[in-house]
């Protein structure tokens, strides 16, 4: 059972689903996103990671066309996001608060979707919610947070978009439901014609399904690329507590951790590490993410109160 089908005119090999260059968004004096240049090929599941207020929601809203950039370009599915039924039909965006009409039932939402979209797989939503034992006829506001999230996710899949933008979609789900949903996304992407960007704090979940990463901190892009390539480009160097100037000159040091006895460096490799005192090991996605958050920790923390979680 899957909600996704091949969409005509999609999935040119090597085509990009998302392309931004110098993308910036300011709200008054607050810069929510600054000079953001990222690219996500079609058919990927892209993790969007960053501390609170890093600009994740802003980026997703710019991609969906719900906000307009202050500067820079954004291309989604080959066009600039715009108010046009054809563009909107190809985008599925689920905002953080899981916006649904609280007094309307899931069935009402299904029927509304059928009236508002050129493609609409109503049966898939009913099947999915019935399987999850979620009543179709009860007002959505009376469902639990997790059930509401399931309704919203099922609805967004019924639209059969080419690009799915999910802002913290699994936060309200229990671990099993989370795993099921992420599996469903992976199936959909495997079936072709779908690209997914999802933001989350749960790196372990993302690691399981995502093959692409955009990492934001302090409104700037820290990392963007294929996860395997990014992991291969970084290494953890462990060695005695000593002067690391030589390494810092030849490699890009992301993070240094010093204890009285040893030094640990997370570096982005420019070439082989020649210092024999240091032992190189692979990094995990979590270590990588935390290192980049740590690199930027002071400004990120300083900005937390002002940047805030964008609306």
């Amino acid at each position: 059972m899957t909600a996704m089908h091949e969409v005509p005119g999609s999935a040119l090999p090597g085509a990009t689903a998302i392309e931004t260059s110098g993308l910036s968004k300011r709200y008054g004096k607050v810069t929510a996103l600054n000079d953001c240049t990222v690219s996500v090929p079609q058919g990927r599941i892209c993790a969007l990671i960053g501390p609170n207020g890093a600009g994740k929601t802003t980026l997703l809203r710019l991609l969906a066309g719900l906000a307009r950039p202050t500067a820079g370009q954004v291309t989604v599915n080959g066009t600039t996001p715009r108010q046009d039924p054809a563009f909107l039909a190809d985008i599925g965006f689920l905002a953080q608060g899981i916006p649904l009409y609280r007094r309307l039932s899931a069935e009402d939402h299904i029927r509304a979707g059928a009236h508002l979209n050129p493609r609409w797989d109503a049966e898939s939503v009913r099947e999915r919610l019935t399987a999850l034992k979620i009543p179709l006829d009860r007002a959505v506001g009376k469902l639990s947070g997790g059930q509401r999230a399931q309704v919203a996710l099922a609805l967004i899949l019924a639209k059969q978009p080419r690009l799915l933008l999910l802002d913290e979609p699994v936060a309200a789900l229990d671990p099993l439901a989370r795993r099921n949903f992420l599996g469903l996304l992976a199936d959909g992407v495997a079936a072709g014609g779908l690209t997914v960007v999802l933001s989350s704090h749960l790196v372990a979940d993302l690691e399981r399904v995502c093959d692409h990463l955009i990492m934001l901190a302090s409104a700037r892009v820290q990392l963007c690329g294929d996860i395997e390539e990014l992991l291969a480009e970084h290494q953890l160097l462990t060695g005695p507590r000593k002067d690391t100037t030589a390494i810092e000159q030849s490699q890009r040091v992301v993070q240094v951790t010093r204890t009285p006895r040893q030094t640990t460096l997370l570096v982005r490799l420019n070439g082989p590490v020649i210092d024999p005192a240091f032992q190189a090991s692979d990094v995990s996605l979590e270590e990588l993410v935390l290192a980049y958050m740590g690199e930027d920790a002071p400004p990120a923390i300083a900005n937390l109160s002002t940047v805030g979680e964008e609306k």
Partner: protein, 326 residues
């Protein structure tokens, strides 16, 4: 989009329709009684059994009369409960992010929603006004007060324009403020302010009023339901007469300006002595008014003003919503 609008607002629609139906039943039943009363009084007058009671006749019950007067407030209700929440409630709950991520542009979303709400407001104002106008027909014929402030405002076509203005004001306030309660407050205050300014100050200037000078002894009453704006007396030298409250009036002239022969008999029905009549003939009076035949012109002008304001407010709401980030 229409289906979603219907689904979102059907409870309001049922409620509004039920209120209108209840009002209609009450008005039709009592209206028939009022009509019968009126025709009976007319027949009595024609048969020579005294027409004086016709002039002072109050038709219908006081309770229904009060309800009729309170329809002054009917138009603002659609502004408060339909207009103000239309965009604000969705912005507040975040459901715009559901609606705008379906394959529907914001422009279409807004156009369809506003279109149906304007239609609903026009029907609301129109039905109420039609019922009130019909019910008040005999009263207007008796009292000749259809043009007076407060009566003019609940009959004819202006209630339709007021309703459209109220709903547009609510939509604009809700779009700008994005919060339901502040939008309701602004709509209420704005509606009352604009209506008051237009009714109390602007309306009398739509056309230059007519002023007629006449001898107080002959008197003067314009035909039909005219709207009296000012009235006063002029003394033998053409001077404006003060109009004190603490003195009796004879033919509209304060008794203090008149000889004692007038004052002695100033109470009750009387025939003034020749000296008093002689004195009165030097006084003149004036009446400034809008003639009854301008009634529909005034209704049209006032309707135009409120339709224009409604259009401006809708434009403000649309431009704000389409320019702003979602």
């Amino acid at each position: 989009m229409t289906w979603l609008v219907w689904r979102q607002h059907r409870v309001q629609l049922y409620l509004g329709a039920a209120l209108l139906a209840a009002f209609a039943v009450l008005i039709v039943i009592t209206g028939i009684q009022v009509g019968n009363q009126y025709h009976a009084a007319q027949a009595a007058c024609a048969a020579g059994h005294g027409c004086r009671q016709l002039g002072g006749l109050f038709l219908g019950s006081h309770a229904v009369g009060f309800l009729i007067i309170s329809t002054l407030g009917a138009p603002v209700l659609v502004g408060l409960f339909v207009g103000a929440p239309l965009v604000a409630a969705e912005a507040e709950a975040g459901t715009t992010q559901f609606a705008w991520m379906q394959s529907v542009t914001r422009k279409r979303w807004l156009t369809v929603k506003i279109g149906w709400m304007l239609l609903a407001a026009a029907i609301w104002g129109g039905v109420i006004s039609a019922l009130v106008t019909w019910w008040e027909g005999p009263n207007n014929a008796v009292q000749l007060d259809a043009f007076d402030p407060g009566r003019f405002d609940i009959m004819g076509i202006v209630p339709v324009a007021y309703s459209l203005f109220a709903v547009a004001l609510g939509i604009a306030a809700g779009t700008l403020l994005r919060r339901v309660l502040p939008a309701i407050a602004v709509t209420l205050a704005g509606f009352i302010a604009v209506r008051a300014v237009v009714a109390l100050w602007l309306r009398q200037h739509y056309m230059s009023p007519v002023t007629v000078f006449y001898n107080v002894t002959s008197g003067f009453t314009p035909p039909g339901s005219y709207w009296q704006l000012a009235q006063g007396g002029l003394g033998p030298n053409g001077q404006q007469l003060a109009q004190p409250n603490n003195t009796p009036y004879i033919d509209g002239v304060p008794a203090i300006y008149l000889p004692a022969s007038c004052r002695q008999v100033s109470r009750g029905a009387f025939t003034p002595p020749p000296s008093c009549t002689q004195a009165l003939s030097h006084f003149r009076a004036y009446l400034t008014y809008q003639p009854a035949d301008r009634y529909w012109t005034f209704q049209g002008i006032e309707t135009g003003i409120f339709l224009f304001l409604a259009a401006v407010l809708i434009a403000v709401a649309a431009v704000t919503l389409l320019r702003r980030d979602a």
